[in-house]
């Protein structure tokens, strides 16, 4: 399996990662080597094997649906790269 520049461009777009045009090909080669490495799993017999969902034998705990936290707006916003009043500011989304 080899990842051509077009595939790399598609994955990078899905991952919202800017990749320079001249990097698409070398990156594709690097990624292809890794995909080639993990491809060996195709040879493992996994018929009737359940995919792992939890590595330890524990039931997912349940709790009451109660508010236990909150009222920390300023803390939440404190690290915003850009804010207006008590909102995160981003480039215009709707014209």
């Amino acid at each position: 399996m080899s990842l051509d520049p077009e595939t790399v461009r598609t994955i990078a777009a899905l991952a919202r990662l800017r990749v320079a045009v001249d990097q698409l090909e070398p990156l594709g080669k690097e990624l292809s080597a890794i995909i080639g490495f993990v491809e060996q799993l195709q040879g493992v017999d996994t018929a009737d094997v359940a995919p792992m969902t939890s590595v330890i034998d524990l039931l997912l705990p349940e709790r009451n649906d109660e508010v236990t936290d909150g009222n920390c707006r300023d803390g939440v916003l404190a690290n915003a790269p850009e804010r207006i009043d008590c909102f995160y500011a981003v480039p215009k989304v709707v014209e």
Binding site: L14, I34, V38, V49, I56, L58, P81, P91
Partner: protein, 482 residues
């Protein structure tokens, strides 16, 4: 001085926490060239040390960790203190909250000296992917070349080995505590998945990430670990199981215990000195009355490819949160989408980018079943191998890493060569089991080599008990130069 000795001296009032802290801050200042810390917190440390002394003066000391100076891997969120994950994308991030593990340590009086360097987002085995530059192994240089401390908890390992702190926290996803412990000649324990809360630890691969302790002796590692573990309702994967007294396991008789030696770990081309150390480890344990048994973990060779599907898949999902909107770096763009792309394109380093792309690929439509689901099935087989083996043995002994520390700049061309560092540690992580690396001896080049002990789920006690015997037999007193 060990953590245990320092704790006793504090209790005996032979030493104050402020004196102890100041000595460590001085050591840190004199070894800045190691680049072990991303952020030093001397004022905070002295303040907490003074509080510890005040408590002790009033007879209200909090326990064995009260006043003990430690370092924190910069992957744990610390309230008001810069937390970077060694990534450009978290520029300036000061969490408004404290991770559960560091909050516990703080509540027990431990004194944070600073935040240690690591591979970016804990992705690496050499500490060279840090945005803040590589860490130097205090055992180097060799032949004029600086050595890596291993990774990803490389800053913690270097700080502990160089005596810049009494112990340090680490995190381990595929070997990130154990491999650097081996490279730096210290003890590193990754407990069972679920022992430590992951709340407030910057996430890499959530089904694998686990915090643990790094220190110069097994006892010290057990003492720090004791302060880190326990159920946390804020992490649904943290285990509501009783926590034993880990130090009580040390020094206990190991006669009659069965030690598994997995034949699949005798990999082709393994360095003779690694094999020799492994045999030596078996001999020590047999002399102490244990029995070694050859076992088979047949799916071992599939562990690395499984890991390099699952870990990047989880990482690509976890790292979606870094978008330039809520915290960290923002690189402007004409549209929201462009802003995302620019921020992430500039904020992530090469290795993180590679893993995000691999993860996105294996999770994308048409490939999910072939890669991700397949890997989760093979992961079941790997975990079953261990479960079967533990029907007949109590612990498993292996080397920690296939080599001693390599030079900074080596093994960069081929990511897969780099991944092979974790060949002995990744299977344990995939199975969620506790593992420790304990120094066993020195390589021909005079560098430390570790042995790994793997235990049953939640049986850290057996792991520590065996490690303590290896530590005693090895008589490892190696000190890095400098």
């Amino acid at each position: 001085m060990t953590l245990a000795e320092a704790s006793q001296q504090l209790q005996a009032r032979a030493l104050s926490a402020v004196e102890l802290t100041r000595a460590h801050l001085d050591a840190m200042a004199s070894r800045r060239s190691l680049n072990a810390f991303i952020t030093e917190t001397p004022e905070l440390a002295l303040e907490r040390a003074a509080e510890a002394d005040a408590r002790r003066a009033q007879g209200a000391a909090l326990g064995p960790l009260d006043g003990i100076p430690i370092a924190i891997k910069d992957l744990f969120c610390t309230e008001g203190v810069l937390t970077t994950a060694a990534s450009h994308i978290l520029d300036g991030f000061r969490p408004p909250y404290e991770s559960t593990v560091t909050a516990k340590l703080k509540a027990q009086g431990a004194v944070m000296l600073g935040k240690t360097n690591l591979d970016e987002f804990a992705m690496g085995s050499s500490n060279i992917t840090s945005y803040y530059g590589p860490v130097k192994n205090p055992w180097g240089p060799v032949d004029g070349k600086d050595l890596v401390p291993g990774g990803s908890s490389g800053g913690s390992a270097a700080a502990v080995a160089a005596g810049l702190c009494l112990a340090a926290t680490g995190t381990d996803t595929g070997g990130s505590i154990r491999q650097p412990a081996s490279f730096c000649g210290i003890v590193g324990i990754k407990p069972t998945y679920g022992r430590c809360s992951r709340w407030g630890i910057v996430a890499f691969a959530s089904s694998l990430d686990q915090a643990g302790a790094m220190a110069r002796t097994v006892r010290d590692a057990a003492m720090l670990l004791q302060g880190m573990v326990g159920h946390d309702p804020r992490d649904s994967t943290s285990a509501p199981v009783p926590v034993p007294d880990f130090t009580a396991a040390l020094g206990q008789d190991i006669r009659g215990l069965k030690i598994g030696i997995p034949r699949e770990y005798r990999i082709e081309g393994m360095a003779a000195e690694i094999d020799a150390l492994w045999r030596q480890g078996c001999a020590w344990l047999e002399d102490a009355g244990a029995t070694t048994v050859e076992i088979s973990l047949p799916h071992t060779r599939h562990a690395l490819p499984t890991y390099y599907i699952i870990a990047p898949a989880e990482a690509s999902s976890n790292l979606a949160r870094y978008d330039g909107v809520r915290f960290g770096l923002r690189v402007p763009g004409a549209s929201l989408d462009e802003m995302y792309q620019n921020t992430r394109g500039e904020g992530f380093g090469a290795e993180v980018r590679r893993r995000i792309l691999i993860g996105t690929y294996v999770l994308s439509a048409g490939y999910y079943d072939a890669y991700y689901l397949k890997a989760q099935k093979v992961r079941t087989l790997i975990a079953n191998d261990f479960r079967d083996a533990f029907r007949s043995v109590d612990v498993i002994l292996t080397p920690t890493a296939p080599s001693d520390a390599f030079a900074i700049g080596e093994r960069l061309d081929d990511p897969i060569m780099m991944y092979l560092n974790d060949v002995f540690t990744v299977p344990t992580s995939l199975a969620g089991l506790p593992g420790i690396s304990v120094p066993g001896g020195l390589s021909k080049r005079g560098l430390p080599l570790g042995l790994q002990v793997i235990g049953r789920p939640f049986d850290e006690e057996a792991v520590l008990r065996i490690a303590a015997v290896i530590e005693r037999c090895a008589g490892f007193s190696g000190q890095p130069r400098g």
